[in-house]
Amino acid sequence: MSLALLYGLVGVGLVAMGLYAALAARHLLRRLLGFNVLGAGVFMLFIAHATRAVDAAGRPDPVPHALVITGIVVAVSATALALALLRRLHARHGRPTLPEDREG
């Protein structure tokens, strides 16, 4: 098994785990972390490809790197906004869950 394939498979695994947590978890912090794991999986998949697509001089493909950095910036800003909202929700209700996910 090549290194790129291993990274690719790990990426796919992270996508599956992250997607499950982002949709199924009740605790909103878990859901947010799930989104971040999902993002890490997508980025991993992308970067794994860069090592496979080397040019004649042995340099990896630069486009995925540029895009993944942009993607990380976007994900970090979105996470910051979600965390700020989560703090507000917690301050108001005392619980880090959405109304439909609260028991009793």
């Binding site: 989104f35 997508v42 490809h49 486009v63 942009t70 976007v74 979600a82």
Partner: protein
């Protein structure tokens, strides 16, 4: 000013306004906003004329051509969406001037970010850049929802988390496309995509992500609470424009990138099935609502379903294409007008319970008229824009022998009439339960009326041949 400069101005101006909104004094916020909004409408009209006359426009930023640079591209569809965005944006921002008094800096800054992100989305010709703009639209929209106060935080968070998952799924599809073809340019990919596992995975994940953002049934659960809880001008922007941005991408992908795949017919029929389900589920839920704003929000679920329902007809040519675009514009104008009316009612009476709307027709004649015109356009009665859109789509459905789509279109319109006309009937027939404590000013009432009337006037000035000429630019064969 040539077409390329107009394109760049349309892209830069709203983002500049967003930054300036953070810097200028509070009393200048509204004037700055109105000035830029008016300028954008003029630019959008000019750009539409330029595209109609000179064909599609492409700009390589900084001289970097794709695949290394980011392509900005606009055809008839882009120019048309920019036009809809600008007209609705102008109306809603004018309303916000009266609604948020004194001016709220957060509304103007986030509103301009949202407006600029929508423009960037309609002008991007690169699947990755589209991901970035899609995310910007989502962040702007969530920031605007929270303006409604701490009661809206739960709705905003639900919206944000699902929107993030939606755009990440879209990005997964983009990655798969790049792995397979080493290209991100929408136009170049259109010629490269071949039937196979990679294109199927890419098409499935990208579409699923976009359906989540467009709130197509059964992925709509986040929409009614978020759109109903937000302040009225924000609800208008979200329902009229933001969901359309995701739907625009679905149309782009399935008429360009994946349109030639053998599975395209099945996929579009599946979307139509979801659309029909949304039309009825949203309609029934709207009928069951006891308050005005949640009813209008459920109506958005239904109307998005209507737009998804007719997607398979796009494979049949120009009639359906023109009809869909008219319907998109009609919904944007009518839905924003309805939310603005709901905001006036909420201000005036301190509630928006439908049962308490008796006498609105007498106490708020302008707002009741605006609601009436918007409702008639959304139902699709002549001579409104909604009627002509539905007429063309019905014609296409019959010509392509799609009786199910035609039937769903007609039945869905009846359902629309049932829930939209109920508050109006109450408002005109029942006596006022009590005197209105306040009177809403013209500044609050006029924008909604003008937006509703725009659906009538637009047909006099622009629709027909000039509009068809614009939409024909870059229309998929």
């Amino acid at each position: 000013m040539n077409a390329e400069s107009t394109l760049l101005a349309l892209l830069v101006l709203p983002l500049l306004a967003a930054v300036l909104s953070l810097l200028v004094g509070r009393r200048w916020l509204g004037w700055l906003g109105m000035l830029v909004a008016l300028l954008l409408v003029v630019l959008a009209v000019r750009f539409a004329l330029q595209v109609a006359a000179g064909g599609a426009v492409a700009v390589a930023i900084g001289g970097w051509a794709p695949p290394l640079g980011i392509a900005l591209r606009a055809d008839g569809l882009s120019a048309f969406m920019l036009l809809v965005q600008s007209v609705v944006g102008l109306g809603v921002h004018a309303y916000a001037l009266a609604y948020f008094a004194p001016a709220r800096r957060a509304f103007w800054a986030a509103g301009w970010l949202l407006w600029g992100a929508c423009h960037a989305l309609y002008l991007s010709g690169d699947v990755f850049n589209l991901y970035v703009t899609l995310e910007l639209v989502g962040l702007g929209a969530v920031a605007l929802v929270v303006l409604g106060g701490s009661g809206t935080v739960a709705a905003a968070l639900r919206y944000l988390l699902l929107a993030l998952v939606g755009s990440m799924l879209y990005l997964l599809g983009v990655v798969v496309l790049y792995l397979e073809h080493g290209n991100l340019d929408l136009q170049a990919l259109g010629t490269l995509v071949q039937p196979g596992l990679a294109s199927s995975v890419a098409a499935a994940t990208m579409t699923l992500g976009l359906l989540l953002k467009a709130a197509v049934f059964p992925l709509h659960v986040w929409l009614p609470p978020a759109h109903a809880a937000a302040p009225a001008p924000v609800s208008a922007l979200l329902s009229a424009l933001v969901v359309k941005a995701a739907l625009y991408l679905v149309v782009r992908l399935w008429t360009g990138l994946f349109g030639e795949l053998p599975a395209a017919g099945v996929a579009l029929s599946l979307l139509a099935g979801l659309g029909a389900a949304a039309l009825f589920w949203g309609g029934v839920q709207a009928l069951l609502q006891t308050r005005l704003k949640p009813m209008i929000a459920y109506s958005t679920v239904a109307q998005i379903g209507l737009l998804a329902l007719v997607l398979p007809l796009l494979q049949g040519g120009a009639v359906a294409w023109n009809g869909l675009m008219l319907l998109v514009a009609a919904h944007a104008l009518a839905k924003s007008a309805l939310f603005l009316c709901a905001g006036v009612v909420q201000r005036q009476y301190g509630h928006d319970r439908i049962a308490g709307l008796g006498g609105v027709g007498m106490q708020l004649p302008l707002t009741a008229t605006a609601y009436f015109v918007a409702a008639v356009s959304l139902v699709g009665l002549p001579p409104t824009m909604g009627f002509f859109g539905k007429y063309l789509l019905l014609e296409a459905a019959i010509a392509q022998s799609r009786p199910m789509i035609a039937a769903a279109l007609v039945l869905g319109s009846l359902l629309t009439a049932a829930y939209l006309l109920r508050p109006l009937a109450l408002g005109f027939t029942e006596a006022a339960t009590r005197q209105a404590p306040r009177t809403a000013g013209l500044g609050l009432q006029l924008p909604g009326l003008l937006l509703a009337l725009a659906a009538l006037l637009a047909l006099l000035v622009g629709a027909g041949t000039p509009l068809w000429r614009l939409l024909a630019v870059g229309m998929p064969a």
